[in-house]
């Protein structure tokens, strides 16, 4: 049974770089499926990995509104980048999942829940903003009046190995959202990478138990200072800001602001932002049957409020304009979310800015409304 308690003392250890594989081995030995950063289709994505060699050694990302490129580093850093198009939500809240089944029998339809062989994941390389995003999705999927069993089953088993950012992308704004760049809670282990190895911070009993299996040494003051300096570099590199002062009333009080028309003239309603956003949770369920129509699976898949018929009702679409749909997304993410869940839905990861084909920047949109309201 996974541990629920957080040890009072966060112990700090030093793991030499060539010992990182033993962390992989320790997780594999405990039956975890390790998911972590790796290069695919010229981006750093999250996928199943088994060894240190799968990590993007010596690579970094260069991000800007509507642009993402990989670039070679001049060192051999294993975690020298920030976040890519994937987030951990694709593992906790799978893009496609069967939520219920129905079978036709002689006595009529029976219904059931399919067996869920929920993988026991170890997430390696979780950034502070992503820890916050997982926490945000925890509230949606597990802390409301109804609990999603698929999310819960994966979440409870997941081992979280965080990585502290030592740099920031041009699109990052976690400092504005109070979510980073330093990982402070919600992890089993946290790593800060230095050229010779990692400062290892234990965040739970589960984490401590794994550290016990590794060849670590004391993390002396010198190493701790270097780690602190490395993390500070991430803070210093953040240039983008979102002013969140009174943002809930600012947005919900300006639902007819002309800026919505302005952004609608640029927005393609392509749904990229919602796909890459680590907190977006919209889904829809479709029935899929076998050829005879005797066995039915209710399949839940990711949906997006940008899809044209997302708000279809009684023969028509409520949000039939891009203006309405963009407004819905932004006001939900930054304003309504606060009413619904007590926090912002945005963690400042910047993915929506990077992956928008036309480079719409929500920090800019909010600033424009604030300026002229």
């Amino acid at each position: 049974m996974p541990s629920q308690t957080i040890p009072v003392e966060r112990s700090l250890r030093w793991l030499p770089k060539d010992e990182l594989q033993s962390l992989f081995d320790a997780m594999t030995a405990r039956g975890y499926t390790i998911v972590g950063p790796t290069i695919d289709q010229e981006a750093i994505v999250y996928d199943r990995i088994t060894s240190v060699d799968d990590l993007p050694r010596g690579w970094t990302d260069v991000q800007a509104p509507g642009s993402y490129r990989l670039k070679r580093r001049d060192d051999e850093a294993l975690f020298g980048y920030v976040v890519g198009p994937h987030s951990w939500k694709r593992f906790l809240f799978p893009p496609l999942a069967t939520v219920a089944t129905a079978d036709r029998t002689a006595e009529g339809w029976t219904m059931g829940t399919p067996p869920d062989d929920a993988p026991k994941y170890a997430f390696l390389g979780v950034r502070a903003c992503e820890l916050a995003a997982i926490r945000v999705q925890d509230r949606t999927f597990m802390e409301g009046p109804y609990v999603d069993p698929i999310y819960a089953a994966r979440r409870q088993q997941a081992l979280i190995v965080a990585v502290n950012c030592t740099q920031a992308a041009a699109t990052c704004f976690c400092t504005s959202m109070g979510t980073g760049p330093r990982a402070t809670a919600g992890f089993d282990l946290a790593l800060t990478e230095l050229p010779a190895g990692f400062v290892l911070e234990t965040g739970s009993e589960r984490g401590a138990e794994i550290v016990a299996d590794l060849e670590t040494t004391d993390a002396d003051a010198e190493l701790l200072n270097q780690a602190e300096a490395a993390r500070q570099q991430a803070v210093d590199q953040i240039t983008r800001r979102l002013d969140t002062e009174g943002i809930r009333d600012l947005l919900l009080g300006n639902l007819n602001h002309p800026r919505w028309n302005d952004v609608a003239s640029r927005c393609l309603s392509c749904t990229n932002c919602t796909m890459v956003c680590p907190t977006c949770f919209c889904s829809s369920v479709k029935d899929v049957t076998d050829l005879q129509g005797d066995h039915v699976e209710r399949q839940r898949q990711w949906d997006s409020c940008f899809n044209f018929d997302f708000s279809y009702m009684n023969g028509g679409v409520v949000r039939d304009q891009i203006r309405s749909r963009y407004r819905q997304w932004l006001t939900h993410k930054l304003a309504s979310w606060i009413d619904q869940f007590g926090t912002s839905g945005c963690v400042g990861c910047g993915r929506c800015i990077t992956w928008c084909p036309v480079g719409i920047d929500l920090t800019e949109e909010v600033a424009a409304i604030r300026e002229s309201s």
Partner: protein
């Protein structure tokens, strides 16, 4: 890393329960009431709902559709749903006959404020398929009639042949519920009211506004103008409740479709005190 809460009970809120159709009642062209019973005895014994709540009717292989619970017969452990056939799923439901099975997830959502209605005059304003979710409230009021003051039902439909539950109006009248119906259009064989629903509220007499509670359900524009009429008559907005509608799919606040401003219609609603949703009703395409 463990999250802070762990669900103890292993319930899947996505899974429907099998139900069997005990009876189908043709209410109007394309409108049918289904009396459903759970196949599982435990479920049948434990099920209860509050007037205003809805369920998700499931036609396996086709899909689910949100329908207000429109009646109940606890003695027979059946629950009723009144459905208009207009899309794929509802047209599939229209083919059901007694003995057929389908799926049901219920009950969901918020309920009519019958507690606030105690000791008050109640004006129920319904339009079209807005009457079914109010019908259990009418039944509850009749059950304990002496708890309530004057009770009036204003109900409008497009034409006389689309009025539903007509067979019950006499009984409701006998139970001291004033039943006022109106239609948008009619031929001369109709001797009743012709005109939109808010007009009946405009001219309702007698009316003691401070003592009156309004519960309304119907097309959104109808409800907005009904509330205008109510407020113009001096009924405080805190004494007006409306049942709203948006695209509801999961009914459990997880799919995101039913959001209306910051409200999830499926779990914060569908019944809202009107002042809570008034700002959102004014915004085009929200």
């Amino acid at each position: 890393m463990m999250p802070t809460t762990v669900p103890a009970a292993r319930i899947n809120p996505w899974q429907p329960d099998p139900v069997v159709v005990r009876e189908t009642i043709a209410e109007a062209p394309d409108v049918t009431t289904y009396r459903l019973a759970f196949r599982d005895d435990d479920r049948a014994a434990s099920f209860s709902f509050r007037p205003g709540q809805f369920g998700m009717l499931y036609a396996p292989g086709i899909g689910e559709v949100p329908i207000g619970i429109s009646g109940s017969c606890p003695a027979e452990r059946t629950w009723s749903f009144t459905v208009r056939a207009m899309g794929n799923t509802t047209r599939a439901l229209a083919r059901l006959q007694a003995g057929d099975t389908l799926g049901l997830r219920a009950p969901f959502g918020s309920a009519w404020p019958l507690d606030v209605c105690e000791g008050a005059d109640v004006v129920i304003v319904a339009g079209g398929l807005g009457l079914p979710p109010l019908r259990p409230a009418i039944h509850k009021i009749i059950e304990d009639r002496r708890l309530y003051g004057r009770v009036t039902l204003i109900y409008g439909s497009r034409t006389p042949d689309t009025l539903i539950y007509v067979r019950e109006y006499d009984d409701w009248s006998r139970q001291q519920i004033e039943v006022l119906t109106t239609v948008d259009r009619a031929d001369l064989s109709w001797k009743g009211n012709v005109g939109v629903v808010p007009l009946l509220l405009d001219y309702l007499q007698p009316l003691v506004p401070e003592r009156t509670v309004v519960m309304t359900c119907g097309p959104e524009v109808m409800m907005r103008y009904t509330v205008r009429s109510a407020v113009a008559r001096g009924i405080p907005i805190e004494r007006i409740w409306a049942s709203t509608e948006r695209n509801m799919q999961c009914a459990i606040g997880l799919c995101g479709h039913c959001q209306f401003g910051p409200e999830f219609i499926c779990k914060d609603g569908p019944v809202f005190r009107y002042d809570r949703i008034e700002p959102w009703l004014k915004v085009e395409g929200l």
